[in-house]
Assembly symmetry: C2
Homo-oligomer: 248 residues x 2
DNA sequence: CGTACGCTTGAAAAATGTCAAAGGACGTGG
DNA sequence: CCACGTCCTTTGACATTTTTCAAGCGTACG
């Protein structure tokens, strides 16, 4: 299978699906033109690594399509996912030489990349980029803190429900609907990846998914295809007080 | 006791103890002068709230001296600390009307504040501020992700050792020493606050502190004064592979 | 057809939480 | 200076949750 996805090899920024959410969102036509000159696309197959923690990182970029994960691993192999990267999310840190986390494509993935040096120079010359990146980073920080509450204080059942709610919400946003009433979506993660995200074992994830199914909070067709008959019920199970939460 | 600490009511920026680490770190003399015109100091006694989640927030600012915490609370009272704010750390989010977390002074606290509106205007006019804030926010995001690993995957004992290591490291940095060999410091948190930070109960915290004491990883004088005879041993107990970690 | 992979389920073990009691430090007022 | 009360902490016994280890199921794919 080709590493390059022809559809994106010469994408125009103006037609880009993440034009208004990514790090370039605030750029005007002129600024976009400059970005266009230094950008390039990379594609990864599902399961492939994008970068390993500690590796030199000479590019930064945005997820255009697909999903990637950010994970940390301890010496003895314990793993914790610390980020789920969706279209428009930014990868890499300007000013840092090497990657701090493992980045892996969990679905087929297309990234819009910039070599780090030119991008950093453009950041200094183009405040709109830094402003947008700040905004996105603050959003990610909020999401990380929301996740800290989940990891530190929620029960296994609440964790599963929370993850399903986040995925459902994002999926609804992608379809430009508000998450109300009945929802149907596909899980982008295996049970093991869910476990790594939630700080659980895959067995506990499996058991709690079964329990939510038994209690009619969700129903499943196959292992990935989820139906949520009542989104509010799911939110109750998640233990979230504010339903207008942050996206990941 | 007076709410205002006279020492800081009319501090010159050039003499400020956090001048080179706070959000103003990159500002030149001219920019600093403008900031100086819109700043004001606020003091809080230990235990006082700085702001409640959901409250309107009409200022942002930096911790000058003392320690504050950021916490989230669930409807049923479960609490998770999501940030420990040390001198130079920034509080508040430009562009957001209300606070997302409870902020509490755990020690006597002095903050250097700016009304939100003028600060936001200055951010647009003064790239150095936004640049520094981006850098600080990226650091916080890294710290949050490090904490996600702790919350999701570490044992109670490792959690305690990690927290002690972080505090020891910060304390050493404050005294301009590198954390090596034997260290002595004071815990700025109660057992309950430690529990809220670590996603544990206060009883488990107490038991694990006792266990580390029994195993000579630390020794205590009173409940707060800690001696670490061997910092590397503490790091082993923390399960950290990389000892050159991030500060909180 | 068989193998591999992801998933589910059960039983037992381990870690952590809950409830309860009591010890110790510290500040206040007598 | 002492007595008292409050708050923080420790410890024990027991309950609960989650993990660990093990076995088996189902589907996709060679």
């Amino acid at each position: 299978m080709a590493v390059h996805d022809a559809q994106f090899v010469h994408q125009e920024c103006s037609d880009c699906p993440i034009r208004h959410r990514a790090v370039c969102a605030r750029c005007d036509a002129d600024e976009l033109g400059k970005l266009e000159q230094i950008k390039f696309y990379r594609s990864y197959q599902a399961g492939q690594p994008v970068i390993w923690s500690g590796d030199r990182m000479d590019f930064v970029g945005s997820v255009v399509t697909g999903i990637a994960t950010l994970t940390q691993t301890m010496e003895d192999g314990r793993r914790q996912m610390v980020g789920l990267l969706l279209p428009s999310d930014f990868v890499g840190r300007p000013g840092r030489a090497s990657a701090a986390y493992d980045v892996t494509a969990t679905t087929d993935l297309v990234m819009c990349c910039f070599r780090k040096k030119p991008f950093e120079e453009m950041m200094l010359a183009t405040p709109h980029i830094g402003q947008r990146l700040l905004e996105m980073t603050l959003d990610e920080l909020d999401a990380a803190r929301e996740w800290m509450l989940l990891l530190g204080r929620k029960t296994a059942r609440e964790k599963i429900a929370s993850l399903l709610a986040i995925i459902a919400r994002r999926d609804a946003a992608l379809k430009l609907r508000s998450p109300k009433g009945a929802l149907v979506f596909d899980l982008p993660l295996t049970r093991e990846e869910m476990a790594d995200y939630l700080g659980l074992t895959l067995e506990t994830v499996s058991r709690q998914v079964s329990a939510l199914k038994r209690d009619d909070v969700i129903s499943l067709e196959g292992n990935r295809h989820v139906t949520v008959p009542d989104f509010d019920r799911l939110l109750e199970e998640a233990g979230d007080d504010n339903d207008g939460g942050y996206l990941v």
